[in-house]
Each structure stands twice: as structure tokens, then as C-alpha cells.
């Protein structure tokens, strides 16, 4: 719900509750005031009549408004206020009258003076007030709606514009479009905060990027020194066990450097630093890579069956496309036992790579970093132990960033991985 709708709704609810209350209070107040006014008028009239009677002038009755009658002796003069319901012939209905009964002795004659004044009809009165209030209510709601619409177009314009800029904000982009100013304090404050935030995010991002790259650099150089020193030592005469130790140290350094490189690659993909997308047919890349990997395939005596019914053309950075395919293929080759069969199928927007596997592959964590499927059946010296455990994490990251879907299943001792557009 939009803020304006929400605040309007609350406003309308309050109005709807308050208006009837105001109606009642107004009605009662007006009634009270008119009553006081009538009472005053009646008293004044009574005074005049008394004066007339004192001067022995005849005062004619005017029923039902003025009724003067002589009565037997009264002991005490008094005034009685009341409300009388009297049938009015003129109007043909019973009307409410304010009534003042005054008992007086004037020139030795006792009088009963009944003075009445028509009261404003309660229901009519209430109805009028309600009608006026209701029309005001409608008018308010209508105006509120109308002006808010205008306002949201005008006052909220900077807000929506800034929101749009924020939505399109990307750390990769060199420049940020400048946020729109507003004469509303809250929006002004928001604008300043946004400017500071985006600026800070940018600088932080650049710092982090530089840090990752520098860290990678700082790590690679000592690794180079260690590796070159070991290589130098290797050239001398050693016992067989020392040769093995040197070799394994060199391999470990290579691995360390690979991990470093791959983590950097992951970070770069995450930061979408690969943005030169071109139309690429993945099936073509698979064919090329299979050629490159032929040696590995031959050495394990694997059969690769390729079956492409369709192309798989997508927009992707060429480097990422190569990385994606090489990781998937090398994974398939790595985990297929000797003399096994790898099947690659491409049918309408889906590439499927099948290879034999053991049952106990942990599919759930397959795409997590540093997940290795090393089962008990694998000999310790096998290269699987040597894997970095980042290949499928990289694959997953590439597909995620480029709006491709990837999933894997194990069926009948076959590992199947699917890439879909």
C-alpha cells in the first residue's frame, strides 16, 4: 500500500468517526442556544403582556402562542417552564412548543399567561446538519483524492526519481546519476543520505576490489619465490624421499596459488567484472574443449557421446563461457571411472552432461565452495584429492550471474547436470 493511500485511509477513518460526533455536539449545542434564545424572548413577551395588563389594556390571546386566562386566586406568583406538544391546525401535525406558564396577580385579578414559541424540529435540524456534514465529508475525500494525486505527481516526483536511480545503482557503473532535489525537508535529507551512501559504497567497493587484487598480488609473489627456490633445490642431488618431498611442496604451492586465483575469479564474477557479452554457442565451445581435453579423455579411455539437436546460443562473456565449459567437462572426466561413457546432449535450451558416478554424491552441497566428493573408494593418491573444490562453485556463480539455471541429479549411478536458459 502506498504511503499516501495509507495516510489517506487513516485520515478518512478519523474523519468518518469524528464527523458524526461533531454532528451530535453541534446539534445539541444549537438546540441549547436556540432554547435560551426562545426563553429570553418568552420572558420579554411576558413582561410586555404584564405591562399591558397593568395598564388595563386588553391583550388578545393568540392561540396557541399567547393564551391569557383569568383564574381564581393564586397564593403565589410563579413561572413554570415546560415543553408542550400541541396539535397545530395550520400544519396539521403535532408540534413541539416551548411553554412558559406565568401565574400573576395584576390589579387584583389572577391571570394564567401561557406563552409558547415554536421549537425548531429536532429531526429536521439533525437531518440538515448531517446532510451538510456528509456533503463536506464527500467533498473532503474527493479533494483529498484529487490533490493527493496531483501531489504524488509533483511532491513525490523527486522521491520516485531517486528511487529509480537507486534501483539502477550498480557498483560497476562508473558514474551515478545525480539525485533529484526537493523542497521538502524529509526528501532533502533522504537525498543527502543517499548521496553519502552511494559515495561510500563506491569507495568501499573500489577499496575492496583493490584489496583483493593487491592481496592476490602480495600472495603470488612470495609463492613465486618459494616455488623458484624449491625448483632450484630440486636440481641438486637428493635422496628419493627428499625428491618426493620437494615435489609435493611444489605441487602444494601450485595448489595454493590456484586456490588464490580461483577465489579471485569468483570475486570477479560476483562483482560482474566480466561484461563483454557476445553471442556464443555453448555446444561449439564444448566441441572445442573436448578437442583440447582429448589427451585426458584418451588416457582414461573414455568415450564421449555428443548429441546436439539444437544450438545453445546465449549472451555471455567469452572467458566465462570457456571457464564454465572447461569446469563442467573436467569435472565429468575427473569423476568418470576408466573406460566410462560421458554423454552430452543439447535439446532445445537445455544442455545435459551425464557421467557415471557413485551413489553417495552430496548433491545438496555440490555447488558450495570447497566441497569435495572424496569417497572411500578413491585411492589416496588420486587427483581428486588434489582438487581445489571451487570448480562447481565457479560454474554456479557464472550461471547465476548470467541468468542461466543449473541443477544436478544422481539417477541409477549416473550424475546428470543440466544447464537451462
Amino acid at each position: 500500500m502506498k504511503l499516501i493511500k495509507k495516510s489517506n485511509r487513516n485520515f478518512i477513518w478519523i474523519t468518518v468517526l469524528v464527523f458524526p460526533l461533531a454532528c451530535i455536539v453541534l446539534f445539541l449545542g444549537l438546540q441549547k442556544i436556540s432554547m435560551l434564545e426562545i426563553d429570553e424572548k418568552l420572558l420579554l413577551l411576558e413582561n410586555r403582556i404584564t405591562k399591558q395588563l397593568k395598564e388595563n389594556k386588553t391583550v388578545s390571546s393568540l392561540a396557541p402562542l399567547i393564551v391569557i386566562s383569568e383564574i381564581k386566586n393564586i397564593t403565589k406568583e410563579k413561572k413554570v417552564w415546560g415543553i408542550a406538544k400541541i396539535y397545530d391546525k395550520e400544519e396539521g401535525e403535532k408540534d413541539n412548543f416551548r411553554e412558559l406558564k406565568s401565574y400573576k396577580k395584576i390589579n387584583g385579578i389572577s391571570y394564567e399567561i401561557k406563552l409558547r414559541e415554536d421549537l425548531i424540529e429536532g429531526e429536521d435540524f439533525l437531518f440538515l446538519i448531517a446532510a451538510v456534514f456528509f456533503s463536506i465529508l464527500l467533498l473532503v475525500i474527493f479533494l483529498l483524492y484529487y490533490f493527493n494525486k496531483k501531489l504524488s505527481q509533483k511532491i513525490w516526483k523527486p522521491f520516485y526519481k531517486n528511487l529509480k536511480i537507486l534501483k539502477e545503482f550498480s557498483l560497476q557503473k562508473e558514474s551515478v546519476s545525480s539525485f533529484e532535489d526537493s523542497d521538502i525537508d524529509e526528501f532533502k535529507e533522504l537525498k543527502t543520505a543517499l548521496e553519502e551512501l552511494t559515495k561510500k559504497a563506491k569507495t568501499d567497493y573500489v577499496t575492496l576490489k583493490e584489496f583483493t587484487e593487491n592481496a592476490s598480488h602480495e600472495i603470488q609473489t612470495p609463492l613465486a619465490i618459494i616455488s623458484l627456490n624449491l625448483e632450484d633445490i630440486l636440481q641438486g642431488e637428493h635422496t628419493e624421499s627428499d625428491y618426493k618431498k620437494l615435489n609435493s611442496s611444489m605441487q602444494s604451492i601450485k595448489r595454493l596459488s590456484k586456490i588464490n586465483e580461483k577465489l579471485l575469479l569468483l570475486a570477479k564474477i560476483e562483482n560482474q567484472q566480466f561484461s563483454s557479452s557476445k553471442s556464443i554457442d555453448l555446444t561449439q565451445i564444448i566441441k572445442d574443449k573436448i578437442e583440447e581435453l582429448e589427451l585426458l579423455i584418451e588416457s582414461k579411455n573414455l568415450e564421449i557421446r555428443q548429441n546436439y539437436n539444437d544450438d545453445f546460443v546465449i549472451k555471455l562473456d567469452p572467458f566465462l563461457a570457456n571457464t564454465l565449459i572447461i569446469n563442467l567437462l573436467s569435472n565429468a572426466i575427473k569423476f568418470t571411472p576408466d573406460n566410462g561413457l560421458i554423454e552430452i546432449i543439447c535439446v532445445s535450451d537445455c544442455i545435459e552432461i551425464n557421467n557415471p558416478c557413485e551413489d553417495n554424491i552430496d548433491i545438496k552441497n555440490l555447488f558450495e565452495r570447497f566441497t569435495k566428493n572424496t569417497s572411500k573408494n578413491v585411492p589416496v593418491n588420486n587427483s581428486r584429492q588434489n582438487s581445489v573444490g571451487l570448480g562447481l562453485a565457479i560454474v554456479k556463480k557464472i550461471t547465476d550471474v548470467n541468468n542461466l539455471k543449473i541443477n544436478a541429479v544422481v539417477e541409477n549411478k549416473t550424475f546428470k547436470i543440466f544447464i537451462k536458459k
Binding site: L234, E292, L296, E298, S299, S383
Partner: protein
């Protein structure tokens, strides 16, 4: 052969210069851009090994200066960043090759060798090792004047062995040289054995000697004696 090593990490600089002295080159060192510029203006080199990240700026900035002051220096960029942009930028500016840290001496020597050959002899130089002659330009090997027919990988393998003769080469180093880092790291390296076996056989058929020694299961050495 005169080589300039531009590398800010002193130890690495010393290691490289020691390595090049072993293969008979004369080495000068520079630890930053300023020193490197100085050397480039003073001397003529056959080859310059240039690290991109230097304390006083990017080594890439040095390339135009090198290009305008050196007549025939091969330029090999060494970088810790395996970054495609840097690579492309460096090669665009006129560098001849690009190598990423960490690397093997064998790989560096091989790259340097190819680079110098390209520069000095336009690739026409022949590589000789006893009865083996390699004509790089024609991709042809002769054993006692008899042509030896090799596959592309076998050719590269023999070339790599001869350039790095008397040096122990681990299987990883060989695999990396032949198939590139990414593919080489995939699997165990036993598959290079097939290639080596085939190469040995082909040389022996033509009456060539088998100079290849196995080193304790970790690698090979092409021994001249």
C-alpha cells in the same frame, strides 16, 4: 645475451638473475620504474623482464619508453595478476609475451628462448643438441640430417627438453608447458608418459640416443652427458 630484470621484490629479482647467469646471460636489475627507465636509457638489452606492479607505478607505463629507446629488446611481462585486461593491454602496447606468477624457471627459460629467437633470427635459428637439430621455423626436427616426424605435442616436448637440458623437469612443469595451466591442473600427470614414450621410440628408430632420464618418479631430465 643481456637481460634487464625489472622486479621490485628483491629476492625474486636475485633468483631470476641467478637463473639467467646460469644459462650464460648477463643480468642487470632494477627495483622500480625510475631505476628501470635509467637502465633502459643507458644500455641496450636483448630482453627485458618486466613486472607490472612496481612501487612507483605500473610497469605498463614503461613499455612506450622501452619501445622508443631499445632497438631489439624482447619484452616479457611478469605479473601476479592473472588478469586478462592487463595481458591484453601489455601485448597491445608491444610486449612480446606474458607470464603469471608463480612460474617455473623452465617455463621462463623456454619463453625467453622463443622470444630471443623470434627477435634475433626471425625464428630461423636452429636449435642443436648433439645429433638432434630443431628448425623452429619449419617445425621440423632432424636426427643426423634425417627428418623426424613428430606430432605437435611431441615437437613442443622435445623443444622444451632441449632448451632446459640438464634440468630436472617435474611432470607438472611439463604438463603446464604443453597444455596450459588450466587443463594441466585437472588430472594426474601420468598421461604425459604416453607422449614421452612415443617420442623416445621415434628418436630411437632414427638412431638417436636416449638422453631422457627419469628422476625418481617425479619428473624427467634431458641429460647431455
Amino acid at each position: 645475451m643481456k637481460i634487464l630484470i625489472v622486479e621490485d621484490e628483491q629476492e625474486l629479482n636475485a633468483l631470476l638473475s641467478e637463473n639467467f647467469k646460469k644459462i650464460g646471460a648477463m643480468c642487470l636489475s632494477a627495483g622500480n620504474k625510475f631505476e628501470a627507465e635509467d637502465q633502459v636509457l643507458k644500455h641496450q638489452f636483448d630482453c627485458i623482464i618486466l613486472d607490472i606492479s612496481l612501487p612507483d607505478g605500473s610497469g605498463l607505463d614503461l613499455i612506450p619508453i622501452i619501445k622508443s629507446n631499445q632497438n631489439n629488446a624482447g619484452l616479457l611481462i611478469v605479473s601476479a595478476k592473472n588478469s586478462l585486461e592487463d595481458k591484453i593491454k601489455g601485448l597491445d602496447l608491444g610486449a612480446d609475451d606474458y607470464i603469471t606468477k608463480p612460474f617455473h624457471f623452465a617455463e621462463l627459460n623456454s619463453r625467453l628462448n622463443a622470444l630471443i629467437r623470434r627477435k634475433d633470427y626471425n625464428g630461423k635459428e636452429v636449435l642443436k643438441f648433439n645429433e638432434i637439430t630443431i628448425n623452429i621455423d619449419e617445425n621440423q626436427v632432424y636426427i643426423n640430417e634425417n627428418p623426424l616426424i613428430l606430432t605437435k605435442k611431441e615437437f613442443l616436448l622435445l623443444n622444451f627438453f632441449i632448451i632446459n637440458k640438464d634440468r630436472i623437469l617435474t611432470k607438472e612443469t611439463i604438463a603446464e608447458h604443453l597444455w596450459g595451466e588450466d587443463i594441466a591442473f585437472l588430472e594426474n600427470y601420468d598421461f604425459i608418459y604416453t607422449h614421452i614414450k612415443n617420442l623416445r621410440k621415434k628418436i630411437e628408430i632414427l638412431g638417436g640416443k636416449d638422453y631422457l632420464k627419469t628422476v625418481h618418479g617425479i619428473g624427467y631430465k634431458y641429460a647431455s652427458s
